[in-house]
Symmetry: none
Subunit: 225 residues, 2 copies
DNA sequence: GAATAATCTTAACATTGCCTTAACAAATCA
DNA sequence: TGATTTGTTAAGGCAATGTTAAGATTATTC
């Protein structure tokens, strides 16, 4: 169980406070840095889900930070929202060219900020191949990233747990026998005892809660509709 | 519910014994033949749900048997699993061309065999299964979901109650004796007192009301038309 | 490539709730 | 009315599932 992390890099501490407050109000975890160097270090340690980057900063400006992040294999796909001074169109264009996903002009409206953040995160999460992403109840089950999103929380399930959840969710409402699950999730060439499934179900419930998968005694399991 | 029948055709009696034992352990009924001619005769008399066919047999080999079965209108849709000698790739290809649903190489792992059998049976059953939902009166009895819907209300009946209701509803209007119900719903190898049925009927009535199942004194129960 | 961590599987024990039975009440038939 | 069949209820046994932990396996890191 893990909140989605948002890294904010800005040299104005008042603004950092404001953004941090709003982000945490919405259930995300905030990471803050007041200069580019620290920002990059935090990114490398925490792999945030989104980075908000001020452009005007002493020493290393936002574009430089962005360039360095985009060179890092493990970080280059993290979406970035730039903060620009009002009406500086040249900067805006440059930002988008650098690989920004969005930009915001100061001064910032907290509501607008949160709306943009969610839009960007959604866009990134939904990327490509539909069908590999299932939306059920308040869950988003993303097969490409082997990630389950529940509101602003992020769950990184191990493969078997994820595959099991994905299969059940893709046939929600239907009761699936342990035999079916073994054949479809484990594959027809794999021989494990069926109680293995129960253990995985237990772990999924432990992480996501018991509101999703229900037991039909003597028959199998079912994803609640 | 009647057991599914599996016909095994092989000239090695040790292997027949082994397969028969495993098949019956998993709740199927085994039919055995040690040559192709007898295999075809058994198939015509019993209409098995699946046929396991050895290829290397004296007189008539598995491919010939398969060809004859595929010509018979009443038998041609029965799935066939071939047994081939290990690594004989040409045979494998030929088998699949002949209309086999799967093939297995000797020597056989019982676990693997059972897994394949279940996979093949499931594939066959799943593809054409509109009979898993019954609409009678204001009820929808959905076997896939193991749920009974009455208007907008959902009822989750325990397995035996559900199976009993499903069986009665699938033969609505017909009076079914307790003996018949025991045999078809409980299975032919299960010994329970017939009054057990009455208790289950009572519980179904308690949940869904008394408008569905009526008693025919001295004979049995009937789902009202 | 060894060490470390994470995941998967199994086994054992705990718990739940379904199934069956038995016993009595009510209904039906002779 | 007495005999037989079915309705109803409740309790105990038991099979299915929940839960936990430890060993086996696989991935990851240095």
């Amino acid at each position: 169980m893990e909140k989605q992390k948002i890294l904010i890099v800005d040299d104005e501490h008042d603004l950092l406070d404001l953004i941090e407050y709003n982000i945490e109000q919405h259930g995300f975890e905030a990471l803050r840095a007041d200069n580019g160097k620290e920002g990059i270090a935090l990114a490398r340690n925490h792999y945030p889900d989104l980075i908000i980057l001020d452009i005007m900063m002493p020493e290393m400006d936002g574009h430089e930070v962005c360039a360095i992040l985009k060179e890092d294999k493990k970080l280059h796909s993290i979406p970035i929202i730039f903060l620009t001074a009002r009406g500086d169109e040249k900067t805006e264009i440059k930002s988008l060219e650098k690989g920004a996903d969005d930009y915001l002009t100061k001064p910032i409206s907290p509501a607008k900020l949160m709306s943009r953040i969610k839009t960007v995160l959604r866009r990134v999460n939904e990327s490509s191949d539909p069908g590999s992403v299932i939306h059920v109840k308040d869950l988003e089950i993303n097969k490409e990233r082997y990630l389950v999103l529940k509101g602003s929380k992020k769950y990184q399930l191990p493969r078997k747990e994820f595959d099991l959840l994905f299969f059940l969710a893709s046939r929600k409402g239907k009761v699936l026998s342990r035999d079916t699950l073994l054949n479809e999730v484990w594959g027809s060439g794999v021989y494990v005892i069926d109680r293995t499934i129960d253990v995985h179900i237990r772990k999924i419930r432990e992480k996501l809660g018991s509101d999703y998968i229900e037991t039909v005694k003597g028959v199998g399991y079912r994803f609640k509709e």
